[in-house]
Amino acid sequence: MVELKNISLSFGEKLILENVSFTIENNLTTVIVGPSGAGKSSILKIIAGLWRPDSGEIFFNGKDIFKMCESEYQTMRKKIGIVFQSNALFDSLSVTENILYFLPERKSLTDHELKEISERLLNFVNMDGTGDLYPEELSGGMKKRIAIARALAFNPKLILFDEPTTGLDPLNSASIIELIEKLKESGTTSVVVSHILNDVVELGEQIIVINDGSIVESGRIEKLITSEDPFVNKFFYRLIKHDRIMKSSYNMYELVNV
């Protein structure tokens, strides 16, 4: 669906991304992991068209997006939604107004139809009956779900999530992960930035490990926990340890039950 080729970006002297290349496959959840400051959000901002890389190419369904004409580019942009790390809800608007803000056909619909759409979206993210509240009245997890509903109203083919579960309790995190899985079933592709190992394991069908602006390893989780790369080893240490514990307790269980 989207292919990044040799993307590099720097701010002044500082190199933020260096030769980043990977492909986001249709209906395959891609998880980008890495430590703070590695350049994860920067990658999303480039895919969302907020920043332009210094060099490199991006192909959307095979077409170079920097060579598209304006109308082609706008059509492409309408297929990509984003959920910001900070949610970025409009704090002067109610939940319903926030959700309907980016709805492409908003102008041509009746109030009744708009209400129906917002109720359907609120139901999808398990936030029934909150339409009249304002963002400041919502908890972190609720805000995140409204931000997701707002992105969904846009009806995108690809949604970019920047750390969707950071700062949420395990129950809220689980519900966000469920939402992303539900999206996959309905045919929406997700790219999720995270440094929470649990998300990586649960969602990642393709995992990109990034450190200091470049990709150090990518692939499925099985490949990563057996990687030779010292950084990947360190990053996934807890997971690898956990994996061994699980295996050894399984062995004990077998021993006891023999």
Partner: protein
């Protein structure tokens, strides 16, 4: 040298905002609700300020010129002085400065807070131009509202001058009002009514510009709000000078 480069960069960025603003003029139809809200906010919140500002400018103008004119026994000229001074200079400038503080600070801090919480990026990412969505309604609202507010300042100013003239210099009220209004020529009205449009345009665009380029957290927000008010005020004073100069030399 870097300061100079930054200045050039600032002008360039400001120019881009003006370009976007003009190219998006047709999208105002989509933001009509926002425009009405902004008009209401400018009008309702600034009205008390403008009434006070206008009244006291007129009062002070009458007191100061009255005492000077009295030396020459020409206190009958107070009405002319007050009405010309208010309509041509003090009305527009005092209103402009008050609105630069009020509307300028509001625009810049509001948009700046949106910038810091990624709301501006959200607009861009979902295919909206933040200049069309935020700067255009605010600028159109300013263009529409600044003239009536200036008129109100003019009238309260002349009214204030009239009270002082009556109380301190024993000039009859009705006579004062008549001569004050008759003193105003087409040229004066043109100058006095053209200024608010320019002031409104620049206050709005400058303050929105500073809002949009906010970075660096709360400190940055504070700094940009200060800059918005300072630069809008300076621009008003400079524009006023240019206007006055042109009017005396050309018209």
């Amino acid at each position: 040298m870097t300061a100079f480069r930054n200045l050039i960069y600032d002008f360039e960025e400001f120019g881009l905002i003006i370009r976007d603003l003009l190219s998006g003029i047709k999208t105002i139809r989509d933001s009509w609700d926002e425009t009405l809200t902004e008009m209401y906010l400018i009008g309702s919140k600034a009205l008390p300020l403008v009434l006070l500002g206008g009244l006291f400018s007129g009062v002070i103008l009458a007191i100061e010129t009255g005492h000077q004119l009295k030396i020459f026994g020409a206190t009958s000229l107070i009405s002319r002085t007050v009405s010309l001074g208010m309509v041509r200079e003090l009305g527009p400038v005092v209103t402009g400065l008050l609105l630069a503080a009020r509307t300028g600070a509001k625009n810049s801090s509001e948009i700046g807070a949106m910038k810091l919480s990624d709301q501006i990026d959200a607009l861009t990412a979902f295919g909206f131009n933040p200049v069309h969505k935020l700067v255009l309604p605010r600028t159109v609202a300013a263009l529409i509202m600044f003239l009536p507010l200036t008129l109100i300042a003019d009238i309260t100013g002349i009214f204030g001058g009239m009270l002082i003239a009556y109380q301190t210099f024993q000039i009859e009220l009705a006579w004062f009002w008549d001569t004050a209004v008759n003193a105003l020529k087409m040229k004066d009205l043109f100058v006095g009514f053209a200024k608010p449009f320019f002031f409104g345009f620049f206050i709005s665009t400058i303050s929105c510009y500073f809002g949009l380029r906010t970075k660096g957290g709360t400190t940055g927000l504070g700094k940009n709000t200060i800059n918005a008010v300072v630069y809008s005020s300076i621009v008003i004073l400079i524009l006023d000078f240019i206007f006055t100069k042109i009017v005396w030399e050309v018209l």
